[in-house]
Amino acid sequence: MTEDWPLWEVFVRGRQGLSHKHVGSLHAPDAEMAVQNARDVYTRRREGESIWVVRSSDIVASDPNDKGSLFDPADAKVYRHPTFYIVPDEVEGL
């Protein structure tokens, strides 16, 4: 039966979380059932406050073969990390 059902990616926002995080995928016949299945499969232990589901086929992904050209150039750009600043003692939460 699941072969007939589309695959959905599930994103859950935790209780203290600021953003939805990808937690896995599942099969469901439509969006409503995908939300229900996500609730049953991924939030049984109170993991979430909010669920997003999206058809896996609607996700546009980068090509793994482009990994080098897309991401390697950032390796040599240490100045993009905010590590060259002196953080005043008064600043909290950094």
Binding site: M33, N37, D40, V41
Partner: protein, 254 residues
């Protein structure tokens, strides 16, 4: 809590708890056999919700009885004639359409019942109802969405859902019939009159049946008696499986 062993509230609480425990046990039979992994987990979740609710109701029943029986003893040491669940709850799972149709008919009644029990004069009853209602709101959503998809699905699924509805309808009348126990708890302000739940049940059932393109069966011959201890043959088999261990190994712990 001060109460006598013949308090009608005891009998009433057994009815509430027994419905949950027997249907919860029925649903647990699907564990590992669900049509898909996602639904297997969903049904098991609902089974666990119901068994959890049963334990709350039977804890209260044990307290009201003041007879020294614990909720475990109420669950595991009563024989068929002492069970007070409706006959609908003990019906076999059948195919997935039967399970979901039974669930939906039950859930709508359960939802109306718990909503009414929020007003119970007994604060313990109202508190359990409040906790359970959140769970049952989801149960009803899940079974209702499934019934719509089965009824308004393929010719095969529609036929199975309609057959399930036709066969199970005869067990729904019992849900709305009052007897002396009901009248006593209504008078005490602790329970609700089953007949008063019918309008709310209709308001939940009818729109879903319409969306599912299923024909609401005519009210005709019906069967009753579970709440008074007169059950179908199925209950004995459920109890045989459910009670085997504590009866074979009394006081076993794990």
């Amino acid at each position: 809590m001060m109460a006598a062993a013949d308090d009608p509230l005891f009998e009433y609480l057994l009815r509430l708890g027994d419905n949950d425990l027997i249907l919860g046990h029925r649903l647990s039979e699907w564990c590992g056999h669900g049509p898909v992994l996602e639904e297997d987990i969903a049904i098991s979740n609902i089974a666990l919700d119901l068994i959890g609710q049963a334990s709350l109701w039977l804890d209260l029943a044990a307290e009201v009885e003041c007879g020294g029986r614990s909720s475990d003893e109420l669950a595991y040491k009563r024989d068929v004639l002492d069970w007070r669940n409706t006959i609908l709850a003990e019906q076999p799972n059948g195919d997935f359409a039967v399970t979901m149709t039974r669930q939906f008919l039950f859930d709508c009644h359960h939802h109306a019942l718990l909503t009414a029990l929020l007003e119970s004069a007994n604060t313990d009853v109202a508190a359990v109802a409040e906790k359970a209602l959140k769970e049952v709101t989801y149960h009803r959503r899940h079974s209702g969405e499934w019934l719509i998809r089965l009824g308004d699905g393929t010719e095969e699924s529609h036929g199975r859902a309609q057959t399930a509805l036709d066969n199970l309808w005869v067990f729904t009348h019992e849900l709305f019939e009052a007897d002396g126990v009901d009248q006593a708890v209504v008078a005490a302000g602790t329970g609700v009159d089953p007949a008063h739940l019918k309008a709310a049940w209709d308001a939940m059932v009818n729109p879903v049946l319409a969306e599912a393109t299923l024909q609401r069966p005519a009210d005709g011959w019906s069967i009753r008696g579970g709440r008074q201890g007169v059950h179908s043959e199925h209950l004995g088999y459920i109890l045989a499986e459910m009670q085997f261990l504590p009866r074979a190994y009394p006081d076993a712990v794990w």
